[in-house]
Assembly symmetry: C2
Homo-oligomer: 245 residues x 2
Amino acid sequence: MRDVTSPPASTPRTARALAREAITHEILAAARARLAEDGPAALSLRAVARDVGMVSSAVYRYVENRDALLTALIVECYDELGAAVEDAEAAVADRADVTSRWLAACRAVRTWSVTHPGEFRLLYGTPVPGYAAPPDTIDPATRLVLVLVAVVADAHDDGAVPPLSPTAQGDLTELVAGARDFVAARGLIEDAPPELVVRTLMAWTTVLGTVSFEMFGHLANTVSDPEAWFDVVALRLAADLGIGL
Amino acid sequence: MRDVTSPPASTPRTARALAREAITHEILAAARARLAEDGPAALSLRAVARDVGMVSSAVYRYVENRDALLTALIVECYDELGAAVEDAEAAVADRADVTSRWLAACRAVRTWSVTHPGEFRLLYGTPVPGYAAPPDTIDPATRLVLVLVAVVADAHDDGAVPPLSPTAQGDLTELVAGARDFVAARGLIEDAPPELVVRTLMAWTTVLGTVSFEMFGHLANTVSDPEAWFDVVALRLAADLGIGL
DNA sequence: TCTCTTCCGTGAGCAGTGCTCTTGCTTTGC
DNA sequence: GCAAAGCAAGAGCACTGCTCACGGAAGAGA
């Protein structure tokens, strides 16, 4: 019984390949479970091997080494987080209400992070000592940022964004040229005002900084309710971006 | 030859105790050197033992365990960073120029971080898996924040801070009560406006977030000159706080 | 159906880790 | 001068990432 939907030449989906894929998936799942408990740096390949009922060396049939396992996890997590933010933002019915869309996206970032502390550490915590993230990870990583930028871009197109009190200091245009090319290449804003780019970058920094502070305990004894605090921050950032209130 | 300056009863500064102190210091120094290379999670007690020319078990005479070593390093680094920021801020001659004082303090944060990447990871990166920072560390950690708050407080006392466009959303007062008590207890601002506290907290989050982004490589291909970018961010935060331009 | 190749799991092994414990030596205090 | 205390060494335990030779199983081609 042949599978006509997928050509066997390009992807020979034999039973063997399927089993291999399933086991690889099982290994990744076990690794993510371990991740939540001990953190990325302490991720033990032997431990995940035990969890899936294998001997440690057998895992190397499926995963090249520990770094490759980390990379796979990073890509998976970035994608999951990106999807969560995309869904949350897309769920806002009133597309003209950019403030709600911004808040929904930001909240989704925090919600996912709080419910996935181990994964958050992997993505936005200290890089694992000997590990250097390969280029494969930067594309999934941008997915989340694109949602935020898209909201800002929409608000900008509507003309709802007031002039952003430009502080004259050198050529901002050149400084954030990379970021402007980034959004331009994705067809979001053709010729973004540097002011807007700077504000958006700062906002994204503050969003992630706020979540990091909460996750890593730097907010203890300072703010009573982290969730409410995050909302305050997110709304103020929206106001700073000219898309709030 | 007795040392009259220090009473021998409370601190018996014998030659032995001095030698012990010196070796402990040497161990800490070696650990910090290792820190810069491999990061906190990979800090190997055996490696620092080799560096100081000891066998691994010998260091346990001076350091209780790896966590205690980390704690000592954290306290040391927080103090060093705090001192660096204090000095930089104090070096601004014109005390009325709050903007320059703010910028100097912020710049000192970044400069220290960039020149001490390993230590920065230790302080503001992912907490080491099995390690929980003891209460001894929170006091040194606040030292740096106090400098920033003091600048804001001075600006506030001068009355130079304009009304901060309050976005009405629940009772901010209760939300940031911890932070307000914090500054009040240190005699900085007696009855700080919640608006100001919120802004200052956000600014501090953004400052550290910006440095973290740079240090952990999340700013790659986005901003051409991290140092110039940091200045832009810091100055804009000052403007948001009402102490800039 | 038979063979041959490819794949997979096992277990031993190497070098490294944190940490404990015993042993012997040196230094200190009386 | 001697007992006590402190110190460095080394063996040892359980753990880590990773490699490699081995035997078995499963699929592919004839």
